[in-house]
Amino acid sequence: MILIQIAMLLGFALILLGLYGALTNRDIIRMIVSFTIADTGVNVVLVSVGYLTGREAPILDTIPVADAAARITDPVPQALVLTAIVIGLGVTALMLAYAYRLFRARGSLDISDYTELKW
């Protein structure tokens, strides 16, 4: 129980910290770094939600199939997190590529320099 709470709070804290960094850091690279932290936070929250206190990993090599329902933890969030992690990497890579292109175009990594489109 406490384990879940610790993990979940950590996850939320990471999300908020990450978002704070992303919203206040003007450096594009630092924004991306912050987002990866927030992403990690989301992953932690996801896993913690699926965790059942005291249960084991959902791998049935040592656990008899018949006992599985009583002994393993919820596998679904884990599957989701796997996907989320990979997607997170994809987005991060994309943002980094964009950052590079932006820098090439304008020689700046300050997000507030890219406001020629507005209003």
Binding site: V44, Y51, I72, Q78, L96, R106
Partner: protein, 93 residues
């Protein structure tokens, strides 16, 4: 159980610490490394939370590949950012 909890608590604190470092440090390189550390700690936490698959993935992708991606881009940026100041204004048409 309590050991696990305690470990989780310590890990959580460490993770938070790493995250704060990532946010507060002036050096981008340190921030990237700290973010990787956050991922790494999180992957350990995933192990505690009975999620070995996730832990592996987080470690390999979240903390490993992502960090390298950052460094690669930083490297390229650094190389080009080191060029004379004149290029700063280039392309701002």
């Amino acid at each position: 159980m309590t050991f696990l909890t305690l470990m989780a608590a310590v890990l959580a604190l460490a993770t938070l610490g790493a995250a704060l470092i990532a946010l507060l440090t002036r050096s981008t390189v340190v921030a990237v490394l700290a973010a990787g550390l956050v991922s790494l700690f999180a992957s350990v936490l995933f192990l505690i939370l009975a999620a070995p698959d996730v832990a592996m993935t987080e470690a390999a992708i979240g903390s490993g590949l992502t960090t390298f991606l950052f460094f690669f881009v930083l490297g390229r940026l650094r190389r080009e950012g080191a060029k004379p100041q004149g290029t700063k204004m280039e392309g701002s048409k």
